[in-house]
């Protein structure tokens, strides 16, 4: 079964027809040629496909495209403005927060979404208390970024990059 939907991806409007089984990730990669989000597992286990959906980080392999008709999607490619890298992305380059780069667009989107969550004082597993303002310690960064696997093991540099970008 097919459905026609509209997606606003990185500021551009796309009308497309998808199989109702198509994930948001496959809609982006296979239908629209937007390959910034990566497929590492297709099961919500690795975070490589993380995008910002209406500003919040989601794993796009677990979202069905047809359920997000009209949605605004931002990928790591769309975070760059006027050819200038987003500060988080810039910090990933400066701190060598990646090696093969395959997990990286997902890490960058996840970090951007995560920093918003911290700014809104959403607590995490390692936050002391539920009501206090959240202070972005390394422990908080590690905890909040643990949905994004990196097989190259760039975690130390990812933490350093996010720490700097958050300053």
């Amino acid at each position: 079964m097919e459905a026609t939907i509209t997606l606003y991806v990185d500021g551009g409007r796309h009308d497309l027809t998808v199989d109702t089984r198509t994930t948001l990730l496959d809609a982006l990669r296979d239908r629209l040629g937007v390959t910034s989000p990566k497929k590492g597992c297709d099961h919500g286990q690795c975070g490589a496909c993380t995008v910002l959906l209406e500003g919040r980080r989601v794993v796009s392999c677990l979202a069905l495209a047809v359920a997000h008709d009209g949605a605004r999607v931002t990928t790591a490619a769309g975070l760059a403005e006027e050819g200038r890298l987003h500060p988080v992305a810039r910090a990933f380059v400066d701190h060598d927060g990646f090696q093969c780069g395959y997990c990286t667009p997902g890490q960058v989107c996840s970090a951007v979404g995560m920093l918003e969550e911290v700014a809104a004082d959403w607590p995490s597993h390692v936050t002391e208390g539920l009501d206090a303002p959240v202070r972005l310690s390394d422990e908080e960064i590690r905890e909040r970024m643990s949905g994004n696997l990196c097989r190259c093991g760039a975690y130390v540099n990812i933490v350093a990059a996010i720490r700097e970008a958050a300053r």
Binding site: G40, C46, L85, G101, C103, T104, R142, M145, S146, C152
Partner: protein
């Protein structure tokens, strides 16, 4: 000894040249090149470990709209050369392991391909299978070929020395099946053009020329009929070091449907059957020493598995041939061919499991002798290579151990196990040595051309799998050509460029860099320092850049602090420090990342990774990222690395040695030794998990 080039760009911490493309996701990986009107392949895998396919009913699949072809052994083309049996895809009805290709669907969309694959009915006749490795398996044999390293070595009188030993450590260490799991799934996009005469593969590989050679052989093509392209690759850690069956399957499917590219990305689950893995090992290590800890005898016997399809033998006891002085020594390897998928390289094949066993045993010997583990290793430092008698080119193990110990804060620890407790956490520290041979692959060729824009275009079919080759090779070329890094435009990742060896065995930068230096010297000799636009030279790396009269190895030392929860057995690693000696460091920023990443993978080997093969069906029962655990960000604490400044002109003209693998070697032992120090429990089978610690 070759003269080293004057470093100006080499040694500088340049950021990755492709960094902006990677952080935005614009750098194209195999699946992501723009293709017109592609088709999608989804395979059907065997669900049993041994037997025959007696029939395939594809009618349900073929009835689906959008299905273009269903390939089976009945209709697939006969391949020209399947001497390498891993590539004998759909050539017979025989099934040799669970997860083997038995059919494949090609369709207009990935959803339809997948649905149709699920509708293919496979009838079979199953035979009893054997998928469990044991130390006394009746099929064990001595592996290896004439031209490979010897399976067994013996020096002195081992039997008598074992009897004489004042202190004897004799234990068996086990490591499990482990899967490489690079983040980018193995992917091939295959396209036949010119009347099915020319094949292009966009492949996720560590070696474009390696894949080209295999695929050309299998299909009976000339090399120039095949092009393999891989500008960016999402990790490999060995599994992408050769073509695998999926390359052949994608190419077969595309030839059946010429003119349209066929895209085939393995699922994460399929990667547990089809692209190699590290064999489980059962290693008995015997260390005989005097009371002062001086080794008299070292015996390392390793038992491993391989597949019935083809042999790959992991050389886990090799490290015991050069690590320590001992007048009497034996190393052996035995392998059993089981009904399992083909095993292959995984980061530091041999050294990673082997050094776990040896370095865990050294820790046990230190305890038995009442010696500090750092001091024990220092006492057994060999003056020359125990195997060959050759002098070392640059053996810096003792300095790595001593400086590492200082930096980590090793000294002053109470050596007694279970002596430090903080609340409910038992705290311990562990050390292990690391070493990796310097490997150089001959045959790489580089081309230098002076462009109209005043930049040197340097081409070589190398591949960057995350090592930093894009940047490091640019730096090497700049120094060799006497220009700035900006003055070089590097081209890699394409068989249209001159031949390059595989990105494997930590040999890439050494082998390709040597070719680039050689070509640059040729260019300067032929065209001088003010070349005319269009001037070009090509040269291959000399066969003998490594000084044969020397033993050329890298060394390192790992230190780990672990905390083990007294009630739950949870194991945390708050601190690790690695000190390395790898000759000259081409790019400190990226070399540091390689060490860090290797250590994370070593810690993962110590605590997380294990593929459970179900003995009833022969498949890996935990074949995805939810159940095959690798470290997350929160699992990695204060991890630091450093290295000794140096250069090793006997290794390469750059003075550098390889860095990709040494980070994983020995890490698992350091962590396991620290767990013993924290808890008093000696776990001798990896991974060290809470149940084993609580035991």
């Amino acid at each position: 000894m070759t003269e080293t080039s004057q470093p100006r760009a080499v040694g500088r911490p340049l950021a990755r040249l492709e960094g902006a493309d990677k952080v935005t996701g614009r750098a194209p990986y195999a699946y992501e090149h723009p293709f017109d009107d592609p088709l999608y392949l989804h395979p059907v895998l065997s669900t049993f470990a041994r037997g025959r396919v007696t029939g395939v009913d594809a009618s349900g699949a073929e009835a689906l709209e959008g299905v273009r072809a269903v390939l089976t052994s009945a209709n697939a083309e006969r391949l020209a050369d399947t001497e390498d049996r891993e590539f004998a895809v759909l050539q017979s009805e025989e099934v040799a392991f669970h997860g083997q290709f038995v059919a494949a669907v090609v369709a207009d969309t990935p959803e339809v391909a997948r649905q149709a694959a699920g509708l293919v009915r496979v009838d079979s006749e199953r035979s009893p299978h054997d998928v469990v490795l044991t130390g006394d398996h009746e099929g064990l044999y001595r592996p290896g070929s004439e031209d490979g390293p010897a399976s067994d070595t013996e020096q002195g009188d081992v039997g008598a020395a074992l009897e004489r030993a004042e202190v004897l450590v004799d234990h068996t260490y086990r490591t499990p099946t482990e899967h490489n799991n690079p983040m980018e799934p193995h992917t091939t996009v295959a396209l036949w053009e010119e009347g099915a005469q020319r094949l292009t593969l966009y492949d996720s590989t560590q070696g474009v020329h390696v894949v080209r050679a295999s695929v050309a052989t299998v299909f009976g093509l000339e090399l120039d009929q095949v092009r393999v392209v891989a500008p960016h690759v999402g990790g490999g850690f060995g599994s992408k070091g050769e073509a695998h069956a999926h390359d052949v399957l994608a190419a077969m499917a595309a030839r059946a449907l010429p003119g349209r590219p066929v895209k085939f990305a393995l699922t994460r689950q399929q990667m547990f059957c089809l692209v190699g893995y590290r064999t489980p090992t059962i290693q008995r290590v015997r260390l005989g020493a005097d009371r002062n800890g001086r080794l008299g005898v070292l015996v390392h016997d390793s038992v491993e598995q391989t597949s019935t399809v083809k042999e790959f033998s992991e050389q886990s006891a090799m490290c015991s041939r050069w690590m320590y002085a001992a007048p009497h020594r034996r190393t052996t390897h035995r392998t059993a061919a089981l009904d399992v998928p083909v095993n292959f390289w995984m980061r530091a094949p041999g050294e990673a499991p082997g050094m776990y066993a040896l370095e865990a045993a050294m820790d046990e010997l230190a305890q038995a002798c009442g010696l500090d583990p750092v001091e024990l290793r220092v006492r057994n430092e060999p003056g020359t290579d125990p195997q060959s008698g050759n002098p070392w080119s640059d053996r810096q193990l003792v300095r790595c151990l001593r400086e590492g110990a200082e930096r980590f804060g090793w000294y002053g620890r109470d050596p007694a196990p279970r002596s430090r407790r903080e609340g409910n956490w038992m705290v311990g520290t562990g050390v292990a040595a690391a070493s990796y041979p310097h490997l150089f692959n001959p045959g790489s060729v580089a081309r230098v051309r002076y462009g109209d824009d005043g930049r040197y275009e340097v081409g070589i079919g190398a591949v960057d799998i995350g090592t930093g080759a894009w940047t490091a090779l640019t730096q090497i070329a700049a120094d060799a050509l006497g220009c700035s890094a900006e003055g070089v435009r590097l081209r890699i990742g394409d068989t249209d460029l001159p031949t390059a060896s595989v990105a494997g065995g930590s040999s890439g930068t050494s082998s390709w860099g040597t070719a680039i230096v050689t070509a640059a010297r040729a260019f300067r000799a032929e065209h001088g320092d003010s070349p005319a636009p269009g001037a070009s030279s090509q040269a291959s790396a000399a066969q003998d850049t490594v000084d044969e009269g020397y033993a050329v190895y890298s060394f390192g030392a790992h230190f780990a602090e672990v905390r083990v929860h007294a009630d739950t057995g949870e194991i945390r690693v708050p601190r690790m420090f690695g000190m390395f000696s790898v000759g000259r460091v081409v790019n400190p920023r990226m070399v540091r990342s390689q060490f860090l990443g290797g250590m994370v993978m070593g810690m993962s080997m110590a605590l997380h990774e294990e593929s459970f093969r179900d003995p009833r069906h022969g498949h890996v029962a935990n074949g995805d990222f939810a159940e095959y655990h690798i470290p997350t960000n929160a699992d990695v604490g204060d991890l630091r690395v450093d290295w000794l400044e140096g250069e090793d002109p006997r290794a390469t003209p750059m003075g550098s040695r390889g860095v990709g693998e040494i980070g994983i070697v020995g890490t698992a032992a350091a962590v396991a030794n620290a767990v013993h120090h924290a808890t008093g429990v000696r776990v001798r089978d990896l991974p060290v998990t809470p149940d084993k610690v609580l035991g």
